[in-house]
C-alpha cells in the first residue's frame, strides 16, 4: 500500500506529530511505501533547522530527516506555512531580505500542488492534526 502522510501539528506541541512519525516508521517496517510526507500549517515548523525540543522529548525534525534519508522519502513543507513559521531556504531568505536560511537539510519547500500530487499517487491519505 502507498501512503501519503499529512502532518498539520507542531513538532513540539501536540502528540499527533509524534504519532505521525511512529505511523510512518510502522508503514515502512510493514513493507508499505510512502509517496510523500507533507507538512502543513503549524506542521511546517518540522522543517526548521533551528528548533530545539525540550530535554527528553522526541526530536521530530531530526527523526524525520533520518528516516527520510534512510528510505529516500520526500519531506515537503508548504511554502506559505513555512514562511509564517520562520522556515526559509536560501532562495526565500534572499527574496525576503532575511539574514540566512533556516530550513533543515532533507526538507523542501513546496506549494500545495505537491500535496495534491502525493494524494493522487498514494492509495491512502492519513492526516495528523494539530
Amino acid at each position: 500500500m502507498i501512503f501519503a502522510i499529512l502532518v498539520q501539528g507542531s513538532p513540539t506541541g501536540v502528540a499527533s506529530s509524534l504519532a505521525a512519525y511512529r505511523f510512518a516508521e510502522a508503514v515502512l517496517a510493514g513493507g508499505h511505501s510512502i509517496a510523500r510526507v507533507f507538512f502543513y500549517g503549524a506542521g511546517a515548523a518540522h522543517a526548521s533547522a533551528f528548533l530545539v525540543p525540550p530535554a527528553g522529548a522526541a526530536d521530530l525534525p531530526h527523526l524525520w530527516q533520518a528516516l527520510a534519508a534512510e528510505h529516500s522519502i520526500e519531506l515537503m513543507a508548504c511554502i506559505g506555512s513555512a514562511l509564517r513559521h520562520g522556515v526559509v531556504d536560501g532562495r526565500e531568505a534572499a527574496r525576503h531580505n532575511l539574514p540566512g536560511a533556516s530550513m533543515r537539510e532533507g526538507f523542501e519547500l513546496a506549494g500545495l500542488g505537491q500535496l495534491v500530487d502525493a494524494t493522487l499517487r498514494g492509495e491512502r491519505l492519513i492526516s495528523f492534526g494539530g
Binding site: L6, L112, V116, D117, T119, S127
Partner: protein, 119 residues
C-alpha cells in the same frame, strides 16, 4: 493526475481566530485548481466564516476568498445546520451560495468522498 478524486475539506475554525480557516480554503482551492472534485464544509466555529461583512485584515478577507471558490467549481458552500443554530446564526443571513446540511446529511457526506481533510 488524470483520475478525479472527490475531496471533502472541513473547516472547523474561524478566520478571525487564527490561520486554520484560510488553510482549509487554500486546501480546497489547491485541489480545485488541479481539477479534483471538491466539497467544502463549514462546521463548528467554521460556520462563523459564512457571516458576511467581516472586515479586511490587510491581506485578503475571508469573504473575498470564499468568493473565489465558484471559479474552481467549488459551489455551493456547505454549512452544518446544528453549528449555525448553536451560534444563533440564521441561514438567511449567510454569504451567497450556501447549502445547509443536517447531521444525517453530513455523516453521509463522508461516504461520497474519497479523501477528507480537516483544519
Amino acid at each position: 493526475m488524470n483520475q478525479t478524486t472527490r475531496v471533502l475539506v472541513i473547516c472547523r475554525a474561524s478566520a478571525a481566530g487564527g490561520p486554520r480557516a484560510r488553510e482549509a480554503v487554500d486546501l480546497a482551492l489547491a485541489f480545485g485548481a488541479f481539477d479534483q472534485q471538491v466539497s467544502l464544509l463549514f462546521a463548528g466555529d467554521g460556520v462563523l466564516n459564512l457571516m458576511p461583512g467581516q472586515s479586511e485584515d490587510g491581506v485578503r478577507s475571508i469573504e473575498r476568498l470564499l468568493g473565489a471558490l465558484p471559479d474552481y467549481g467549488i459551489t455551493p458552500l456547505l454549512a452544518d445546520a446544528d453549528a449555525l443554530a448553536a451560534r444563533g446564526i440564521a441561514s438567511t443571513t449567510l454569504v451567497p451560495g450556501c447549502r445547509i446540511l443536517d447531521e444525517r446529511a453530513i455523516a453521509e457526506l463522508h461516504d461520497t468522498h474519497d479523501i477528507v481533510l480537516m483544519t
